[in-house]
């Protein structure tokens, strides 16, 4: 099965890229494997407790993608700086108590891994 990797660098709401990435992934998952790497501000996307009155909950969207089979990973350096810390235990597919289920914090080497296993890469950034 071919693989698509999407690299994101923006947080939710401030830009439309989280939603565009969701739509791309949803479409791709029908036939392909999808990896999503959350880099820089994108590590805010999976934060729990989001309650947007006027937008669609981005964390929920990405948790849904993880449930459907996408590998969603956040950069440890970016996440740690922003207050999302990995734990040893993995609960509901996540190693961060502040994150939605299915989304894990990993080393940046995981990005390199994703790229070397991919057929195409899409990067969305402001």
């Amino acid at each position: 099965m071919k693989t698509l990797t999407i690299v994101l660098t923006d947080g939710p709401y401030i830009s439309e890229y989280a939603e565009i990435a969701y739509k791309l992934t949803e479409a791709a998952l029908k036939k392909y494997k999808v990896n999503i790497f959350l880099y820089l501000d994108a590590v805010h996307i999976p934060k729990k407790d989001q309650n947007p009155a006027f937008f669609i909950n981005a964390g929920q969207l990405f948790s849904e993608l993880a449930e459907k089979g996408a590998a969603v990973r956040a950069c440890a350096r970016c996440a740690g700086a922003r207050g999302y810390l990995p734990e040893e235990e993995i609960i509901q597919g996540s190693n961060c108590k502040d994150y939605f289920p299915g989304i894990r914090i990993t080393s940046l080497y995981e990005l390199s891994e994703m790229l070397s296993m991919s057929d195409r890469v899409i990067s969305l950034s402001r």
Binding site: V7, T9, Y39, L108, R120, V121, S125
Partner: protein
């Protein structure tokens, strides 16, 4: 071997993008052909003598030296437009005219932007 072209078009220090692009490029050095393409405001990264200690930020020039095997391709028209031609530039960079810069993008497996 796959090749990845990281396109950096934002200035260093004012945003985390340059640091992010350098780190991302560095982790792939063993597995892929990696080029860091400096375009637009990204070309400011090439000026010699950066000292970011007083800002409490990592020195990006030092990081560039630390990854000596990273190919750094600089879009010359961006450099000229920004008045950098009189500046002393980091020696390990490679200047490219627009044609060569675009060809490097076109011949890479992936292009990733920051």
């Amino acid at each position: 071997m796959k090749s990845v072209f990281y396109l950096l078009d934002t200035a260093p220090y004012g945003s985390e993008n340059a640091f992010g692009a350098l780190n991302a490029a560095a982790v792939s050095l063993n597995e892929m052909d990696v080029t860091l393409g400096l375009y637009g405001d990204g070309v400011y990264l090439t000026i010699v003598g950066q000292d970011s200690r007083k800002l409490g930020l990592p020195n990006l020039e030092d990081i560039l030296y630390a990854y000596g095997e990273l190919r750094v391709l600089v879009h010359e028209p961006s450099l000229v437009e920004r008045g950098l031609f009189g500046q002393t530039l980091i020696e390990t960079i490679e200047l490219a005219d627009e044609e060569d810069f675009f060809e490097a993008m076109e011949s890479s497996t992936y292009v990733i932007e920051f």
